[in-house]
């Protein structure tokens, strides 16, 4: 489709959509500004107008990813008719469904970029760390609510459990990229519940 027939999507939006797809497929170093422009069908001037640099663009892509991710977590966290462990399981299952539907390609963008960039780039390390800390904080808030409701164990702090929950979420997607094994992912969902649930 030519650019003229889809005026509703702005250049900025097209760059973000193409960019996230390319980052998943080729990683940060494998994604070039020229390749992005060609994929999005957007002129170079527009890229620099909206983002200024490849790094700023990567941060914007991460912002977009984090928002989408946080929206899913908030939606599940708000389902007060479910127990907190059930909400966590539902959240994780939705993540899995999206990942499998992407042909086992789109795992977690933050985890992917952490693996690629944390060792070599301080700005990215700081940006990713802030994203993970916020994510953990939201999981911990949900777990604390579960502790108050008597559904989540209280012998460990909500923060400590949240560290483990976030690690399991991240690790499951990393493993699934190579294993492509749905049983593995389902086992992790069940173990998330086992880990946090209050013992009878």
């Amino acid at each position: 489709m030519s650019a003229q027939t889809r005026p509703a999507v702005s250049h900025k939006e097209r760059l973000l959509r193409s960019g996230i797809r390319l980052l998943y497929a080729n990683g940060y170093h494998g994604t070039t500004v020229d390749g992005l422009l060609a994929d999005a069908g957007v002129p170079k001037g527009s890229f620099y107008h909206h983002f200024g640099s490849k790094q700023a663009f990567g941060f914007a892509a991460l912002d977009r990813y984090d928002e989408a991710q946080a929206e899913v977590l908030r939606r599940w966290a708000g389902q007060e008719d479910l127990s907190v462990p059930a909400r966590l399981a539902g959240y994780h299952r939705e993540f899995i469904e999206r990942f499998v539907a992407s042909g086992w390609q789109r795992s977690c963008l933050a985890g992917k970029l952490s693996n690629e960039l944390a060792a070599g780039s301080e700005p990215y390390r700081d940006r990713l760390a802030a994203g993970f800390e916020l994510w953990k904080k939201e999981i911990a808030a949900l777990l604390r609510q579960g502790q108050e409701r008597g559904e989540v164990r209280i012998d460990e702090s909500a923060e400590s459990l949240a560290d483990a929950v976030l690690a399991m979420i991240q690790g499951a997607f990393v493993a699934a990229l190579s294993l492509q094994d749905l049983d593995y992912l389902n086992a992790v969902t069940r173990s998330l519940v086992d880990l946090v649930v209050v013992q009878p």
């Binding site: 497929a25 693996n115 060792a119 390390r125 459990l161 493993a175 990229l177 593995y184 086992a187 880990l195």
Partner: protein, 200 residues
Amino acid sequence: MTESTTTGQPRHREALLREGLNQLFAHGYHGTTVDRLLEASGVPKGSFYHHFHSKEEFAAAVLERYGGFHYERLARWAAKPDLSTPDKLSGYFRELSQIFVDSGYLNTDLAGKFATEVTTTSDPLRAQVASIVTTWRVQLEQILAAGQANGDVRSDRDVSELSAAIHALMDGAFVVAASTRNRQSLESVAMAIRSLTIVV
């Protein structure tokens, strides 16, 4: 000395594999170049191509050796006579965490690092990563099964479910901590490994 005996030296292969591990941790697969590897290891280019036909083949050999380190370390913890199975597994993870922290948060899980960087673009490396994870899990499942038999690992969960969860916890812990450098989060994961496996 003829060219072929020089380039075929086993110590060159060894030096390349050793330096390859450092380079891959620091720069990732795409950021690791054969030239930089040769410079850092002091090995001539002809020797590299004598031992490995391509960078991909070289990376697969580094991964295989890396897997071997893990199998040995896990076997060493499993053989400790005075620890319960959950304590062996959390001890194993604490040792890996210490190596990771001491390396300045660089020596993460190489299989996980490769999983996010190259499994969507290289079938041989994806297969190699999957093979390492699977071999490691089989070994872990034997340890868990022995623990179930002697009564110190919960038996209401299949060992394959437990191995998936423990693998995800460990891999994800490194993905997150590579950016956050939060040592406490690693301890939270050690706690979680223990509490997922103990008899409840």
